[in-house]
């Protein structure tokens, strides 16, 4: 690691330990200031958001931006949920996201197993075909899909969202799952086969548990991709009943006429903090899974 190198070179030069420490502090001061600046730039907007979600409309209009809220109650949150319909938007997003994520992961795992572990002619070509999908702009498929859903009378239901999300995520999911499966030693499957395990048994009881970490990682990436999507949701959802949280938040200002700052900040805060919690929780799980895998290996 380069850190040792730097530490060693500085230690040979400096005369006494205390002078060395002081000199090093002084040398590092500009860097520490830069780090402090970066952290303020990243974290201050989030802090401002949370503080703002507790302020009343007059506080927004007449107090300076750095003033603290005068009360700590959840009135803005209540208003965002009751009058803004935030709860319905979150529910809509969850109903669209979770099934698409589940279907996508199961389909992707099956396809990756068939393309990477199983042996048959033409599997390389099919894998390449999936890969090509990563580069296609979504804009190219929106209009034909709109026509298809319209003619199948799916417009106005949740199906267009779920179907489109599954298909859009498949190229990356298949590609990443295939990469992880390539790392499994082939002897595992040969041994399983000698023991009389059928192909579905090998898939479900050997391959899938072995790529468990990959499932978490890919799942995390795809979850945020679907949850944060605006383009597909804007295209296929017309009725306000089915709006996802992103589309709903975008129309938040419109419903009140004049901007009602408090509830709006509360709405943004729920969206932001919810995402952060999911990230921190799942990220930890991924790390734990990695650690467990390392111990076993």
């Amino acid at each position: 690691m380069s850190a040792d190198v730097i530490a060693r070179t500085t230690s040979t030069r400096a005369p006494s330990p205390r002078a060395r420490a002081a000199k090093r502090m002084l040398q590092r001061l500009p860097a520490l200031l830069v780090i402090a600046f970066v952290l303020v730039v990243v974290l201050y907007p989030l802090l401002w958001l949370v503080l703002g979600s507790f302020k009343t409309q007059p506080e927004f209009l007449s107090e300076p931006f750095w003033s603290l809220p005068q009360q700590w109650n959840f009135d803005n949150y209540t208003e965002a949920f009751v009058e803004g319909g935030l709860g319905r938007y979150i529910l809509n997003s969850a109903i669209a996201t979770l099934p698409s994520l589940g279907i996508q992961l199961i389909f992707g795992l099956g396809a990756a197993f068939a393309l990477e572990i199983m042996v048959w002619k033409g599997r390389g070509t099919v894998l390449l075909m999936f890969l090509a999908g990563i580069m296609i702009p979504v804009q190219m498929i929106l209009l034909p899909l709109f026509t298809i859903y319209f003619n199948l009378h799916l417009t106005g239901t949740r199906w267009p969202l779920i179907i489109t999300y599954v298909a859009m995520g498949l190229p990356l999911t298949v590609f990443m799952m295939a990469t992880y499966m390539r790392a499994i030693p082939r002897e595992m499957f040969e041994a399983a086969e000698l023991d009389g395990a059928g192909v579905y048994r090998q898939f479900w009881y050997f391959a899938v548990p072995l790529v468990r970490n990959a499932i978490f990682t890919v799942g995390l990436v795809q979850f945020f991709f679907i949850w944060n999507d605006l383009l597909v949701a804007m295209t296929f959802v017309q009725s306000s009943e089915l709006r996802t949280i992103q589309v709903g938040l975008l129309n938040f200002t419109g419903e009140y006429g004049a901007v009602s700052y408090g509830p709006m900040f509360a709405g943004i805060a729920v969206n932001v903090i919810g995402t952060l919690i999911i990230y921190l929780f799942l990220n930890q799980k991924v790390m734990k899974g990695l650690a467990a895998g390392a111990v076993k290996g």
Partner: protein, 294 residues
Amino acid sequence: MHRTLGDPKAVLVLLGPALLVYTLVMLVPIFWSLGYTVMDGNALRGFEFVGFDNFARFFQDPTAMETLWFTVRYALVLTVLQVVVGYLLALLYVFVLRRSSSLVRTAVFFPVILPTVAVALLFQRMFELAPTVGPVNAVLDFLSLGSIDWLGESGTAFWVIIAMDVWRSMGFYAVLLYAGIVDIPDDVIESARMDGASGLRLVRSIVIPMSLPVLLSAIIFSVNGTLKVFDTVIALTNGGPGTSTTPLTVYMFRASFQYGSYGYGSTIALMLAILCLLVTLFIFRSSRRDLTKG
């Protein structure tokens, strides 16, 4: 051996669902979309064949040219800033914070996973002038530089969009490039130090050339993402003032769903796809030439 793993029925059962969905929802629509480029009309009204009119219209449409110019300008500026800021952060992680960088890395990564819509609405408030004065204008006032109607003028609105996207994505590029710099073997850096290289010189002649492959993929990734910008613009400026901050993607969306012209919309989408492909190929080609020269 491998009799069970060669079972065609099992291949069909495991691969079939994914392949079917992928083909019907991605591959077929791509070719379908190519067909739309020579048509006029929409799903509700029906279609008629118009030949290459849509392409001619695209190149004569001043709004289309304006959006194309905005897209290119935005992609160029943002790619440079994203990669440069990301690289500086990565250098900070590796050479200054060293092993204690994980907390800072996680914090700077936060904005990456946040919903663009939420961030855009937040930035709208931060750069607001009226009815409330946002933090940015308040600071400008305090320094007696005078406040600015950031989102009301096309010039400043462009930079607010850029600022927001740099804020949102720098953590991602920092981690991506960090992985590339950390992979440089220690003995290479150590021997360069023994030869007397330090600070800027070490970065310029050792670190940058050694992390060039990661840098290149970061640039390609960034260009392809920024050329397709949609959420940021829709939520932050909605393309305004006028159409001055409208990228191709938003114009395609308007042409298709507001003016009901699927043919023209598909043509714009195709132009975007071609643009992405050309830029990627160009970066690949120019980087290979540089490698042979060096």
